[in-house]
């Protein structure tokens, strides 16, 4: 049987610069992390997976269906949704409206339903609100439903982005640095939530993370990118001790806390 998500030989060039070189990446279930230095091509990979960039070579299949050539909204409708590294909420819309937009690909109303305001319209709208409230509940933002997204604190904005992505009922969730800027407590809570999602909803998750502690704690598998190439892949412990990974990314000298004591 084909894997849930299978990318093969993905290559992307920007002008003369090769951002990704024949990257393979497959995922059946659970949480996989992608790590690597800035500019290694992690976010570019996400942009290709979600249809925002066309790839130059390679193929990506999701549940056996080829994704290249599909528009981002079609990919979302198939069940892949994402968050952004630098938070891209609809800043002037309310929290609940943000979530409702996320449901767009699951709404089966036509123009005529909207213009005629028929019973189907009323039913659907009511159902959407109920589900949106439930999602906000899940990420702990139920009290903020009618706040304007712009006014939420940083950590809450990240959680709202997660809720908005979940609103599209994805089977695969792509999270771009979800814990950036969160306190350790917040990051821990978020990781527990992700684990819950995997268990409760059978969700598969791909994470881009810089926080190595988070990566080691939560991932089932880790992929390391450097200069657009995959240099290592495997269970977290194995990758952590890989010589190439240490050289390209982790560094060899004493870990930071020891340096702190030295000062």
């Amino acid at each position: 049987m084909a894997a849930l998500f299978d990318a093969r030989g993905v290559t992307k060039r920007f002008g003369g610069l090769t951002a990704l070189q024949a990257v393979d990446f497959a995922l059946e279930s659970g949480i996989a992390s992608i790590i690597g230095p800035n500019g290694a091509g992690k976010t570019t990979l996400f942009n290709i997976f979600t249809g925002l960039y066309p790839a130059d070579e390679g193929s990506v299949t999701f549940r056996g269906r080829a994704l290249f050539g599909l528009r981002p909204d079609q990919i979302t409708a198939l069940g892949i949704c994402r968050t952004f590294q630098n938070i891209r909420l609809f800043a002037n819309m309310t929290v609940i409206e943000n979530v409702l937009v996320g449901m767009n690909s699951r709404i089966a109303l036509g123009l005529w339903d909207v213009l005629s305001h028929g019973p189907r319209f009323a039913r659907t709208e009511a159902d959407l609100s109920t589900r949106a409230v439930a999602l906000l509940d899940r990420v702990g933002l139920q009290a903020n439903a009618n706040d304007v997204a712009r006014n939420l604190p940083y950590g809450d904005q990240r959680r709202l982005e997660l809720a908005r992505a979940l609103a599209s009922e994805p089977a695969l969730l792509l999270l771009d640095e979800p814990t950036a800027g969160m306190t350790r407590t917040e990051a821990g809570a978020l990781m527990r939530l992700l684990r819950e999602l995997v268990v409760d909803l059978g969700l598969a998750i791909i994470l881009i993370e810089h926080n190595m502690r988070v990566v080691m704690e939560v991932s089932d598998r880790v992929t390391v990118l450097d200069h657009g190439e995959k240099i290592a892949e495997g269970p977290p412990r194995e990758v952590q001790s890989d010589a190439r990974v240490i050289e390209a990314y982790l560094g060899t000298r004493g870990s930071a806390p020891q340096r702190a004591r030295r000062a």
């Binding site: 230095p37 800035n38 950590g155 969160m182 982790l250 560094g251 340096r259 702190a260 000062a263």
Partner: protein
């Protein structure tokens, strides 16, 4: 040297800083620790004039910096390396560095250019290259080098480790310590508390827009609160 007192800053309705006060003495490295949204970047932006405070004072060697536009603050000897580096991607490395010395009319510019490329030999190799083609670490070096071209008395550094591989972070911090040894006072904002405390003399902890803790680097590194919340123990 720099003295900030009861600083209030707001974005629209959201209050970002509430009565922040801090001192930086000549020759020191002072670090500001804190989580995202705590107000670290806002503090630096207010010092360098990019943001205007609602109230409070900022004085550099007895001169007030409040209300002075950012391009004049550079002339007073404060250079700011902004978050995310913000180098000029379409300019060459040399043009980027020369922009750092834009307001200077003195004869010391060539000597400072020499000093910067000695500090960062990689920049010398790539001096005619367009800055957008540099790697992340090189871009960070360029951003710091560009700020040094203003020949500042006080250097403000915002998250120099951000987005860099752990292996590069160490190099950058070693260089920051070097720059300080050569006589430049440094105010350093960092998420990577361990690294920051390893080179700083003193530090402040910022929480939701207010100073929560202050002390020497060793005091902070030994403080159980700091160890739990920022050093992850």
């Amino acid at each position: 040297m720099l003295s900030v007192d009861s600083l209030d800053v707001a974005y629209g309705e959201i209050r970002a800083l509430k009565g922040v006060g801090l001192q930086v003495g000549r020759g020191e490295i002072v670090t500001i620790l804190g989580n995202n949204g705590a107000g670290k970047t806002t503090t630096l932006k207010t010092i360098s004039g990019l943001l205007q405070p609602l109230r409070g004072t900022i004085t550099l060697e007895a001169e007030s910096l409040v209300g002075v536009p950012p391009h004049e603050i550079v002339g007073r000897g404060v250079a700011h390396v902004p978050e995310g580096r913000r180098i000029f991607n379409r300019l060459t490395v040399r043009e980027n560095l020369m922009m750092g010395a834009y307001p200077r009319r003195d004869a010391g510019v060539p000597a400072d250019l020499e000093r910067v490329v000695t500090l960062f030999p990689r920049l010398k190799e790539r001096i005619t290259q367009v800055a957008g083609t540099l790697s992340g670490g090189e871009q960070q070096m360029l951003a710091i080098g560009r700020a040094l071209m203003a020949n500042p008395r006080l250097l403000l550094l915002d998250e120099p480790s951000m987005g860099l591989a752990p292996v590069l972070v160490e190099q950058i911090f070693d260089t920051i310590a070097d720059i300080n040894r050569q006589g430049t006072t440094i105010l350093l904002v960092e998420q990577n508390a361990a690294m920051a405390l390893s080179i700083a003399h003193r530090g402040y902890v910022l929480e939701t827009g207010a100073i929560a803790l202050a002390g020497t680097a060793t005091e902070l590194a030994d403080n159980p609160e700091v160890r739990r919340a920022y050093l992850g123990e």
